[in-house]
């Protein structure tokens, strides 16, 4: 029975090998860190969007909540950064619990409401009257616990966790029931799926991944502002990566994030003017010719996508 997990396991091991091995040949650790960050976020978004079909435009809200939750726990409660990462994940899950009623909306209404929720969270965190806790708009300083290498491996840990979650969903009945919800909520409930519970679990798992990613990001970056960790770019990037790669598989979001984020770094920063053009063109072509992402090419060739 465990055999069906082998292909997914292979992908996870390959990713781990890459990110352990690559720093020996390529010394831009911050790029590798950010790449892992987006890989993890893409898998996290894949859980809620790929499997249940809810498109969370405010996904960055969980990321920010995790970054602040972790950082505040580290600075005010003086816990270890690793524990802070976990706290960040839990804070994001609690945020997710508060937002569960949004799941009653569907399609664009959900996306917009979620977007608004993430911005509301941003305004709360950046509010100067909360300066004693969040430092308001002045940002958080974690330089006392700064440890780039530890942060790098913590990110790898979160990424492995996210990939393992998706691998489980890809191969289990629970994952299948989520796909059924995406297809048709009523028919899914008539198959005996507890729709409300299943989608809430997916939502919270997705939030947990984003929250932990946010907390590691805060730790690794050491100094950040509300506008950094609540930036809509995070949501948009993640969504584009997932769509580009292909949803509801382990490999799809990884491929999307690897290709597009690397491209963003190599062309986007040196020649931003061409990059925008190129990126835009790529996305238009994608929507026109490969609406199901890059991995749909493999699927058409009857290749199993883990």
């Amino acid at each position: 029975m465990l055999k069906k997990y082998f292909p997914s396991l292979g992908v996870i091991l390959a990713i781990v090998a890459i990110f352990i091995g690559l720093p020996h040949f390529y010394d831009n650790q911050s790029f590798l860190f950010n790449l892992m960050l987006y890989l993890a976020l893409a898998e996290g978004l894949n859980i809620i969007y790929g499997f249940t079909g809810y498109l969370p435009f405010g996904y960055v809200g969980f990321f920010g909540a995790g970054a602040y939750g972790g950082a505040i726990a580290i600075t005010l409660l003086h816990i270890s950064p690793l524990l802070g990462v976990l706290v960040g994940g839990v804070v994001a899950v609690l945020t997710g619990v508060i937002l569960i009623p949004l799941l009653r909306l569907s399609g664009a209404y959900f996306a917009i409401a979620n977007l608004a929720a993430s911005q509301a969270l941003y305004l709360v965190v950046a509010n100067p009257s909360l300066e004693k806790i969040t430092q308001g708009p002045y940002g958080i300083d974690l330089s006392s616990v700064y440890n780039a290498n530890a942060g790098y491996f913590a990110m790898l840990g979160v990424l492995v966790f996210a990939m393992a979650l998706v691998a489980y969903l890809r191969n289990s009945n629970f994952g299948l029931s989520l796909l059924a919800i995406k297809e048709d909520r009523v028919t899914a409930s008539l198959a005996g799926v507890n729709v409300i519970r299943a989608r809430s679990i997916a939502w919270m798992l997705s939030a947990f991944v984003a929250g932990m990613s946010g907390a590691v990001f805060g730790w690794y970056t050491a100094v950040f502002y509300p506008s950094t960790v609540f930036s809509l770019d995070v949501s948009v990037f993640t969504i584009v990566f997932v769509l580009f790669g292909g949803i509801a598989s382990v490999a799809g979001p990884l491929i999307g994030a690897l290709i597009l984020y690397s491209m963003y770094n190599f062309i986007g920063i040196s020649t931003p003017q061409y990059f925008q053009l190129f990126y835009g063109l790529l996305i238009v072509l994608l929507v026109l010719f490969l609406p199901d992402g890059v991995v749909s090419l493999l699927k058409k060739g009857k290749v199993y996508v883990p």
């Binding site: 299948l176 297809e183 048709d184 409930s189 198959a191 005996g192 799926v193």
Partner: protein, 237 residues
């Protein structure tokens, strides 16, 4: 007594609009029951209320000795109600996955064994097991819907208009298949239809009109009833 499903004085509807005005009916074990009614009579509303997709406003639903009037849909399905809606399948999942979801509550081993039965009944499905539901023809989809519903080995099979969207030739085939399954698996079934050819294998027939059950009896009684003969067999028969 030997009733598997008993519905008494059921009232239900959508929002402020009441559709069912005190409907009562019952299905016994191994019995095939057809619920006839024209469009808008309240057939789907009645079935949805039995499955729990709509909440009963009044009245009582007892299934297998348990009052399920207020139970959640997934509890009712787990309790042994198999429900096939008009559309019924997941078009973007494979035939195999559709069947797996049909047996969502059962073990993988049970499901594999049951799927073999289904492939035996419906050889087409075996051939298309790795194909998406969307790639099946209308008739094959209907068969997948039936197979998916039977996967969980339900004590009672509820079907909402199995004939909808099918050509007359295929309707005949669906009737044959259901008749065969009723005999082979000793199914207890409640089928809502407006197509009278389904009374072919019905042991009991109810007629639903404007949210009320206006007739209950076997085929002979039905054919002996003048008004009904005019409504349902009138011009075409």
């Amino acid at each position: 007594m030997g009733d598997l499903l008993t519905i008494s004085a059921l009232e239900s509807g959508y929002g402020l609009i009441q559709v069912l005005w005190g409907s009562s009916l019952s299905v016994s074990l191994n019995q095939s029951v057809v619920l006839l009614g024209v469009n808008g009579a309240g057939k789907t509303t009645l079935l949805k209320t039995i499955a729990g997709l709509l909440t009963a406003w009044n009245g009582k639903i007892v299934f297998d000795g348990i009052d399920i009037t207020r139970a959640k849909p997934n509890k009712r399905i787990a309790g042994g109600i198999g429900y096939m809606s008009e559309l019924g399948i997941f078009p973007n999942l494979t035939v195999e996955e559709n069947l797996k979801l049909g047996g969502y509550f059962r073990t993988e081993k049970q499901n594999r064994k049951r799927a073999e039965d289904m492939y035996e009944y419906f050889p087409d499905l075996k051939e298309y097991r790795k194909k998406m539901g969307a790639s099946l023809s209308g008739g094959q989809r209907k068969m997948l819907g039936v197979a998916k519903t039977l996967m969980s080995n339900p004590k009672l099979v509820i079907m909402d208009e199995p004939s909808s969207g099918l050509s007359p030739k295929f309707v005949k085939k669906v009737v044959e298949v259901l008749k065969f399954l009723h005999e082979r698996e000793k199914l207890s079934m409640l089928i809502a239809e407006q197509n009278v050819s389904f009374i072919d294998f019905a042991q009991k027939i109810y007629i639903l009109d404007k949210g009320q059950v206006t007739f209950g009896g076997d085929v002979e009684e039905l054919k002996g009833n003048d008004t009904i003969r005019k409504t349902y067999f009138g011009i075409s028969h």
